[in-house]
């Protein structure tokens, strides 16, 4: 190869490299020129696949369709898997989401992950039970009105006890701030309006054997107990189980909060249930985030009143809608064809 041909080759190579460089730069620029991306919202309940939180899935999905958002739904398989929920929130914070709807498994342990999510630019809505973090431009609350729930339970207590008797409040779990609020509201209302109803309180958790144990010990220590108010689904199951084992001499009524299994009032002890409207929580939370991202001003805190369900109204349309775990809004109604 002589000097002239080498020079010519070098010139051609240089030209090719320049061309390649400009082509890459053009491609890179074009990649940025695309339509506005869809809003992505992550919804993380305390757990999923149960009667309490699948309605939230339905509400959130419906609102997502209406607002044109893309929804991601997932949760730990246990309500007491706080680390699992934290890991999920951290992963969501690092991915391309614009909003987070979170029902925290623990009211303090999720403070830092939620703050970090906001620092990553996500708009966050806490549903169900609050965190001790004040609302801000990136943080709103759509909560269950625990005070109203406590009041509903207390009023029902007053009715079935006719203003006199003893009640045990089980499942007070300080992990969930809302549970503590509803216990206080219940106790306060009883103290004010039904001072002759004696109250016994026990600490609870999402650990079923523990709840069974506590229920059994409570019944043994208080054989004259009239009513048990169970503040969590786990304590409800624990109490039902303990009653089935111990078969006390008189009937003890149960007023339950947030059942997560099919309600058939199969247990004769179950008197009534106070249910959160998680479907509306999910819908409102997604609507809030979409509105915020479009620059609208949204309320800092929204309280949704729970519903008292009795044997008389358990089959009503409103209650069935509340209890339904069919999370599929209209656009997702699967077109199945089942062959003959």
């Amino acid at each position: 190869m002589n000097a002239r041909s080498r020079k010519s080759w070098a010139t051609q190579l240089g030209a090719s490299l320049h061309l390649l460089y400009f082509a890459w730069a053009a491609l890179f620029l074009l990649a940025g020129c695309r339509k506005n991306p869809q809003i992505a919202i992550a919804v993380v309940p305390r757990t999923c696949g149960d009667m309490l939180w699948e309605p939230e899935h339905g509400g959130a999905q419906k609102a997502a369709f209406e607002t044109g958002a893309r929804l991601y739904w997932n949760a730990p398989t246990r309500e007491d898997d706080v680390d699992g929920q934290i890991a999920l929130v951290e992963r969501i914070s690092s991915e391309n989401f614009q909003g987070l709807v979170l029902a925290p498994d623990q009211s303090r342990a999720l403070i830092t992950p939620v703050r970090r999510a906001m620092q990553h630019g996500l708009s966050v809505v806490i549903v169900g039970s609050p965190l001790p973090v004040p609302p801000s431009d990136r943080l709103s609350y759509v909560l269950n009105d625990e005070e109203a729930g406590g009041r509903l339970a207390a009023q029902r207590l007053g009715t079935i006890l006719h203003g006199r008797g003893s009640v045990a409040i089980l499942g007070i779990d300080s992990d969930i701030a809302g549970i503590v609020l509803r216990a206080r509201s219940l106790e306060q209302f009883l103290a004010t309006h039904y001072p002759n109803i004696h109250i016994l309180k026990m600490i609870g958790s999402f650990n079923l054997p523990h709840e069974q144990q506590v229920a059994a010990e409570t019944f043994k220590a208080n054989p004259d107990l009239d009513v048990v108010v169970t503040l969590t689904s786990t304590s409800t199951v624990g109490v039902v189980s303990a009653l089935a084992s111990m078969r006390p001499s008189h009937r003890i009524s149960i007023i339950a909060f947030d059942p997560d299994s099919n309600l058939g009032f199969d247990s004769p002890n179950l008197d009534s249930v106070v249910i959160e409207d998680t479907r509306k929580m999910g819908a409102d939370a997604v609507q809030l985030i979409a509105a915020k991202l479009h620059g609208a001003t949204v309320p800092a805190v929204t309280l949704l009143e729970p519903v008292l369900v009795l044997r008389e109204n358990v089959n009503s349309t409103q209650v069935q809608q509340l209890l339904s775990r069919d999370w599929r809004p209209e656009p997702i109604q699967r077109a199945w064809r089942v062959p003959q």
């Binding site: 000097a3 696949g49 997932n74 054997p209 189980s241 775990r325 064809r337 003959q340």
Partner: protein, 731 residues
């Protein structure tokens, strides 16, 4: 010749490029082939499952089958390619408890841990309502179901069933039956907006399961039709009221609750587990505890909110991790935890495994978490195969060390992959019993499955091996760079030399010829001018002399520019030839001598020596009037020396000897790091000596020394040779 070479080179490059593109396209097509890897058959019986990935659950190989020993809701194990489209997966399936389901997954993608945290289709047998269920997951669940076989048959735990799930187009067909019987229950759906491709897998919900003989095959429409025809068709309510071609909305089936009715009544006298630490040692008191199963192998451990306990059963009861059980036995207090001996265990509920408590190694080392399910981080220091087909990992965490032991099961792949000094997070039941710790560590973690060991970070990069590799790579890079540099230099020099040749030819063809022509014309004019015009004759003679001189100079320049002689005849021969040409038609003798073993001299060095030699010879011929010209070329091991000497008039050397082309000679000598010495005495001739270092020959034995010298010279600006002499001549 050159044109043909260029053409062949172009053809070769084009052919190579085409081959590369074709290979790339073929590779991509192979990767994207929706049938790649099919048919597939599991290797569970051979103890291999590296190609499977778990999302939740505690999956292990046991007795030639894959087992999920936990009641986690939605535990999945997946394999295959995300591009698999139309295929069927079938397996033998066994449920490990009541109130849940177990089955097969097709066309799965976007998988993560969670209840319905994947996109795909699932078919399974559910024993709470004795049904075959088929549905679609997309981080939400939709399904249809049908009674299994008939009312005579029930879906029972601990019994084998054969399950097959086929996906073809948007048609999904599931079939289930007893292995030994022909009758099957079939269920099919057509999903309008279907998932088109994805991986295959195993899944269970709220009940553990065992799978064996997993086979994945490409599916055809005929196969789907045959499956449909062979089974009892679904008898869902919609299908009875719809025309065959009508698309219906699927009925929503609420997922089964994972809090099932308690199977046996519980003992109202159950105690907290921690209270058994204070059991009297003199008596054999019976105690009952209630808790969640946290480990089943190598021993049964149960934990409640107060702590954990080792349960030694009197008769083995099949339980799974996550089951809520009641155990009654003789309580024995230990140092840090209690043991329940001769225990009767019965399952109260199935449940999901409890999460691990995250503690530091120092905390666990105190024994405070004995028999408890914990999670600890540590750096892997040693790994080995242990007795009883176990894997043993030794870890350090700050001032503490601990051991993790697990059944080999699926662990071979992880065992080989995890590197020493990696940071691991290990979950397991902490035990302080010397039987497990061998008194080598304060505690040992009994790990349930490979999914309980997570690598948080690899070994630190700065290891001896990596540093050595980096040094070797750097060395190779330096040598390569040096090689390339010298090649490029060589090319550049050749280009210059060829350009000079081109100039030489141009000058020869134009200038030299022109001078010759002018000379002839002047001679012709002189002949034509009468003798009496002496002045004119003088002027013509002068002109002829000038032309002759210029012609000679031009020829000399052409000769200097022509490298052919140098390349074709060697340095000494070229100089000798050049000298003889200079002294042609004279009486000067030219003597050339070669000393030492001839070595290859790089072109750059030989070219500069040639120019220096030419200049020295020209100076000698022009100014010294010698009788003899001596040209000596001496080869040494690492240098070459050219000596041009004459016996002419000599001169008195001056310090700043700048004339006679000496400046050019110095520059040329400096460019090849050569040493130029010019010595002379009046009447005793002149010697011009130039010594140039030769580049070392790289051999297997010489390269370390050469590298050291190179680094010293170039990186640390040190010189190893003699410094250039301040005066280019010596007395």
């Amino acid at each position: 010749m050159k044109t043909r070479e260029r053409r062949w080179r172009g053809v070769l490059i084009t052919a190579t490029a085409c081959l590369v593109v074709a290979a790339l396209v073929s590779f991509l097509q192979y990767q994207r082939n929706p049938r790649r890897g099919l048919p597939y058959h599991d290797s569970f019986s051979a103890g291999k499952a590296e190609e499977w990935k778990a999302f939740g659950g505690t999956w292990e190989l046991m007795d030639g089958a894959m087992r999920n020993d936990s009641d986690e809701r939605g535990a999945k194990l997946l394999t295959g390619s995300g591009r698999w489209q139309n295929y069927s997966v079938e397996a033998d399936v066994m449920l490990l408890g009541p109130g849940g389901d177990a089955g097969l997954v097709v066309r799965s993608s976007d998988e993560e841990e969670g209840v319905d945290a994947y996109t795909g289709y699932y078919a399974g047998l559910r024993n709470s309502d004795n049904s075959l269920v088929l549905g679609r997951a997309g981080h939400g669940w939709t399904d249809v179901e049908t009674p299994f076989l008939s009312d005579r048959h029930t879906v029972q735990a601990y019994r084998w069933y054969h399950l097959k799930l086929l996906a073809y187009g948007c048609q999904l067909v599931a079939a289930a039956g007893l292995p030994a019987e022909e009758a099957v229950t079939t269920l099919a759906v057509k999903d309008v907006d279907c998932v088109l491709s994805g991986r295959a897998g195993l899944r269970s919900y709220a009940a553990g399961g065992v799978w064996r003989n997993v086979v994945v095959r490409p599916a055809t429409l005929e196969e789907a039709t045959v499956m449909l025809a062979s089974g009892h068709p679904a008898k869902g309510p919609e299908s009875e009221h719809q025309a065959p071609d009508t698309t219906t909305l699927g009925t929503f089936q609420a997922p089964q609750s994972y809090y099932r009715t308690q199977t046996t009544p519980s003992n109202p006298n159950a105690q907290p587990i921690s209270s058994l630490k204070l059991s009297p040692i003199a008596r054999q008191d019976k105690a009952t505890v209630r808790g969640v199963v946290i480990l089943t192998s190598p021993a049964l451990f149960v934990q409640d909110s107060t702590g954990g306990i080792l349960v030694k059963e009197s008769t083995h009861q099949p339980v799974r991790v996550g089951d809520e059980v009641e155990a009654t036995g003789i309580a024995r207090a230990g140092d840090f935890s209690a043991t329940l001996e001769d225990a009767a265990v019965h399952v109260l509920w199935g449940g999901t495994p409890m999460p691990a408590l995250s503690v530091t190694a120092s905390q666990a080392a105190t024994g405070a978490f004995d028999a408890t399910f914990i999670e600890v981080e540590g750096r892997l220091r040693h790994k080995e195969y242990g007795p009883g087909d176990t894997l043993i990992f030794d870890l350090d965490s700050g001032p503490q060390s601990f051991r993790a032991v697990m059944n080999r099961g699926r662990g071979d792949e992880q065992y080989s992959k995890v590197k020493l000094d990696s940071l691991l997070r290990v979950r397991g039941v902490s035990v302080v019993d010397a039987m497990y710790t061998q008194n080598l560590t304060p505690f040992t973690l009994l790990v349930r499955s490979t999914d309980d060991i997570v690598e948080l970070a690899g070994p630190p990069w700065w290891s001896v091996g990596n540093l050595v590799a980096m040094a070797a790579a750097f060395l190779l890079l330096v040598l390569l760079a040096n090689f390339v540099y010298h090649r490029v230099e060589n090319w550049r020099l050749r280009a210059i030399v060829e350009e000079r040749e081109h100039l030489a030819f141009e000058m020869h063809d134009t200038l030299a010829q022109g001078f010759a022509g002018i000379g002839f014309q002047l001679e012709a004019i002189r002949t034509g001018v009468p003798e009496e015009h002496s002045r004119m004759h003088q002027q013509i003679d002068l002109a002829s002399d000038l032309v002759r001189h210029s012609h000679a100079e031009a020829r000399r320049t052409v000769d200097m520019l022509r490298p052919q002689q140098l390349e074709s005849e060697g340095l000494l021969s070229a100089l000798t030839l050049g000298a003889r040409r200079l002294v042609a038609a004279g009486s000067v003798a030219v003597i050339s001598t070669s000393l030492g073993e001839v070595q290859p001299v790089p072109l750059r060095i030989s070219d500069n020596l040639y120019r220096i030699g030419q200049e020295a010879l020209a100076n000698a011929v022009r100014h010294a009037h010698p009788a003899t010209l001596n040209i000596i070329l001496e080869y040494k091991k690492d240098s070459v020396r050219l000596l041009i000497s004459d016996d002419g008039t000599g001169f008195i050397p001056r310090e700043n000897l700048g004339g006679f082309g000496v400046l050019g000679m110095r520059k040329r000598a400096a460019s090849i790091s050569a040493r130029l010495d010019i010595s002379s005495k009046p009447g005793q001739g002149t010697q011009v000596s130039v010594t140039a270092p030769l580049p070392p020959r790289i051999t297997f034995f010489s390269w370390p020394g050469l590298l050291s010298r190179f680094l010293r010279e170039h990186l640390f600006n040190a010189t190893t040779g003699d410094p250039p002499h301040p005066h280019p001549y010596r007395r």
